[in-house]
């Protein structure tokens, strides 16, 4: 992998990234991806302090890299530059905390019955705002008493050797922190769906992908988690067992960020990246034989689907739409927003919340205009953010597929 900074010289200053950047559109505090990226990169000397901090307004959504027609890794340049600012100035306690969702989930989960009602109180959120500078209006997920791994013991394996059936039917599920600690129901449903399709889903050893640490500039801690995941997941990829995830930001970390942003190298990282798939990508490109049209029941619904910015950075298009468009009666309206605004942990921060809220405006307006029965998006942070801001029910597209397969009733729908 080329270090991102070296791609700055490919920049033609065409401003295609500037025109597409959702953050620059929402605030004039951010000079835009081209200005703080390839343009400012030539002023960043490896041994001198960072000359300017305006890159810290970048949310890391990755739109700029995706739209660049000339191969500049704009977002990667900016994420590395943000991390250098953190190295120089340190990370506040808040960033240290919110970048470790696995610790928070493990610590608070057992006390969910107390923690959740308390965190719904205005005074508690105001206190968090004052002490930690987490914005009182930023939606947060609820803690769960029991984890996915605790509820799906029979799926747990330590290595590919523990798998009894043929490797052709085995699938390794990367649940990430959300399905493990915050949405174990979604994880269980995914396992059921994979079994329903004739596969043997297993849960390999894993830890948080490290993306929140990376986004908050804590690269060393992120690298430690990346190495742990590569050690335990690469053997599955090597055995030809696809690694499949429902969280599009976690799977992007495994595929791309470890190597392109954290600078990690070696066959473990390459093989894990090549063997990792978003669950809909898996159903479209790896096993298109599994879904049979007659098995898909009609869902007479109009849904608005927002492909998360992190999914778009997979460069695989919108495979969920390719699958969902096969469901009879289902009308899928595509979101026109590049990003919902929250970009992982960005929108939670008191100083960033107004910008993130501004980014969300166009998507919220489209939801208001389309009046869908359900709003769908793959990334958990987008779902929590949009549900909190819009008051709508947000679901993962895999829940809609599961409903069409008759595995579950869709909540909130007309059916």
């Amino acid at each position: 992998m080329i270090p991102p900074g070296l791609t700055a010289d490919l920049c033609l200053k065409c401003n295609i990234c500037t025109a597409s950047c959702p953050v620059a559109a929402a605030t004039d505090l951010f000079p835009g991806p081209k200005a703080v990226g390839p343009q400012a990169e030539r002023f960043r000397h490896p041994k001198l302090p960072s000359p300017d901090a305006s890159v810290s307004w970048c949310s890391g959504c990755g739109t700029c890299t995706r739209v660049c027609p000339h191969g500049v890794n704009v977002a990667e340049i900016n994420i590395v530059a943000k991390a250098r600012l953190v190295q120089e100035h340190g990370a506040p306690l808040r960033d240290q905390a919110i970048s470790r969702p696995h610790w928070l989930g493990a610590l608070a989960g057992p006390f969910a019955a107390i923690a959740n009602p308390v965190l719904r109180q205005r005074w508690a959120r105001r206190a968090m705002g004052a002490v930690l500078r987490i914005h009182p209006d930023a939606p947060m997920p609820a803690f769960q008493r029991r984890t996915l791994r605790g509820r799906a013991k029979r799926h747990r394996v330590r290595s590919p050797r523990d798998i009894s059936t043929s490797p052709e039917t085995a699938v390794a599920f990367f649940h990430g922190c959300s399905a493990e600690y915050y949405e174990p129901g979604l994880g269980l449903l995914t396992l059921r769906l994979l079994e329903h399709l004739g596969l043997q889903p297993v849960i390999p050893p894993q830890t948080c992908c490290g993306l929140p640490l990376q986004s908050n500039g804590l690269f060393d801690a992120a690298r430690a988690q990346a190495r742990r995941n590569a050690r335990s997941l690469a053997p599955f990829a090597r055995a030809g067992i696809p690694i499949v995830g429902t969280s599009t930001s976690c799977t992007l970390a495994l595929k791309h960020d470890y190597r392109a942003i954290l600078g990690l190298e070696g066959p473990d990282f390459d093989e894990m990246a090549a063997g990792t798939y978003d669950i809909f990508e898996f159903l479209v490109y790896v096993r298109p034989d599994l879904l049979h049209q007659p098995d898909l029941r009609a869902l007479p619904l109009r849904v608005l689907y927002h492909p998360p910015c992190q999914l778009r950075s997979h460069f695989i298009g919108t495979p969920a739409v390719q699958i969902l468009s096969r469901i009879p009666g289902l009308e899928v309206v595509l979101s026109e927003a590049e990003c919902c605004g929250v970009a992982g942990t960005y929108g939670l921060k008191s100083e960033k919340f107004p910008v993130a809220r501004g980014v969300a405006d166009s998507l919220l307006a489209q939801i208001e205009q389309v009046q869908p029965d359900l709003v769908l998006t793959d990334s958990e942070t987008c779902r929590w953010w949009l549900a909190g801001l819009s008051g709508d029910r947000l679901v993962h597209p895999i829940e809609v597929l599961a409903a069409s397969l008759g595995l579950v009733a869709l909540p909130g729908g007309r059916n």
Binding site: C14, A19, D28, R66, V67, L252, L254, F315
Partner: protein, 411 residues
């Protein structure tokens, strides 16, 4: 829902050609996957449709038919009609016709004829009859009114150059981009206070030219409201990129393509044909580079709309060889580098004419004049024989060849 007899298509490139071709094919019921390494370059364009074409193309090095002559005059007419229908449905009003020209004002003060232009860019008749002026906007550095008024070549007396018009509220904390201004103009609240602020500054002026930033997709309403509130005739002048008229065209095309069911894969680089079928001279689709690894997208037919030498569709090396970048199709080009450029830096040059040679079915040909691959087609800037910067039919080539290619591919 794709029809049972419709082919699966892959289109490579999301500029005017690729977006338009994808839309056409999907609207007719084909399943279309559009692959785009980065976003197409429409946001660098003036948004007009130039479609006046000469009878012959340049010889590179042997004589070549003009791409529009290959596609046919009918394809040009039908392509332009389809695009105009799409644009009026999107509320982006274009005016003009193939048989006549309309004129827009360049940022340097020249008149630029074109066949179809956004109504807001067309020079109003009041520009020469009445008290006219051109103004920039404070904090926006991508448009200089004095360049237009001092370099005036628009006939009659040059319009006055006003001081940059201010924006209500606190001054911006950085230079503004055209897209920032376009979003601000779309805010009804800001528009009302802006009119109060501008009214005394434009008193006595009948016709005002301002940079093309009057809203992203709602500029028809914005322009009408401003004109009625300020009591004058407004028109837009293109700016440096990001160019809002180009973005409007891109947005309208992208929305139409996605609504017609096109699957857009943005960011993936197209690598080449699918493995294992070289002998049969078929592409079978395309391999693409995604964040995780290479994915194969199979298709019955593949359309190359990846652009010319300035747009990534052609690959050159230091030794002087030129080749089509994705499938390695042969390119009509001069063999030695010395022959690429003309004597003057500002041109004309030979290299902008390089491109892929196609037959009248828009299929790339090899050196012997045989089909390069049975299932491969090419359209737009990739085609040989025309210098796209200097020609008067750049968008006409894109529309006509895209239309012809899709007509043949779906036949």
């Amino acid at each position: 829902m794709p029809g049972p007899t419709m082919p699966d298509l892959v289109v490579i490139g999301a500029g005017l050609t690729g977006l338009f071709a994808s839309y056409l094919a999907a609207a007719k019921g084909a399943r279309v996957t559009l692959i785009s390494f980065g976003r197409g370059g429409l946001s660098l364009s003036h948004g007009c449709i130039d479609a006046r074409y000469p009878t012959a193309a340049r010889s590179i090095p042997e004589a070549l038919p003009h791409p529009i002559a290959l596609a046919g005059a009918d394809a040009l007419r039908a392509g332009c009609a389809q695009l105009n229908n799409l644009l009026s449905a999107a509320g982006v009003g274009y005016v003009g016709s193939l048989d006549d020209s309309v004129e827009t004002l360049t940022p340097l003060g020249g008149r630029r004829p074109t066949q179809f232009a956004p109504e807001s860019l067309v020079i109003p008749t009041q520009l020469l009859d009445g008290r006219a002026a051109i103004a920039g906007i404070l904090g926006f550095r991508d448009f200089m009114p004095a360049l237009a008024t001092r370099g005036w070549q628009g006939g009659g007396t040059a319009p006055a150059c006003l001081d940059d018009l201010p924006w209500p509220g606190a001054p911006p904390r950085r230079d503004l981009y055209a897209t920032d201004l376009a979003r601000r103009f779309e805010s009804r609240q800001q528009l009302a206070s802006l009119c109060d602020l501008w009214r005394p500054l434009v008193a006595g002026i009948d016709c005002l030219g301002i940079p093309a930033v009057l809203g992203l997709m709602d500029h028809v309403r914005v322009k009408a409201e401003l004109e009625s509130s300020l009591g004058l005739r407004l028109f837009e002048i293109p700016t440096l990129p990001p160019s809002v008229p180009g973005l409007r065209l891109e947005t309208a095309l992208r929305r139409a393509a996605l609504a017609a069911g096109v699957t857009l894969i943005e960011g993936a680089r197209a690598l080449g044909r699918l493995e294992g079928n070289r002998a049969k001279r078929r592409a079978l689709g395309v391999r693409v580079e995604t964040a995780g690894g290479t994915r194969a997208i199979s298709a019955d037919k593949t359309l190359l709309a990846s652009g010319g030498i300035l747009n990534g569709g052609l690959h050159t090396d230091h030794a002087g060889s030129v080749i089509e970048a994705t499938f390695g199709a042969p390119v009509a080009a001069h063999a030695t580098r010395a022959a690429w450029v003309g004597p003057a830096l500002s041109g004309p040059h030979e290299y902008p004419h390089f491109g892929v040679r196609v037959n009248d079915r828009m299929q790339p040909l090899d050196a012997a004049g045989e089909l390069f691959a049975e299932d491969l087609y090419a359209a737009g800037g990739l085609l040989a024989g025309v210098d796209r910067v200097r020609t008067t039919c750049r968008q006409g080539i894109d529309l006509a060849t895209a239309y012809r290619a899709i007509e043949v591919m779906l036949a």
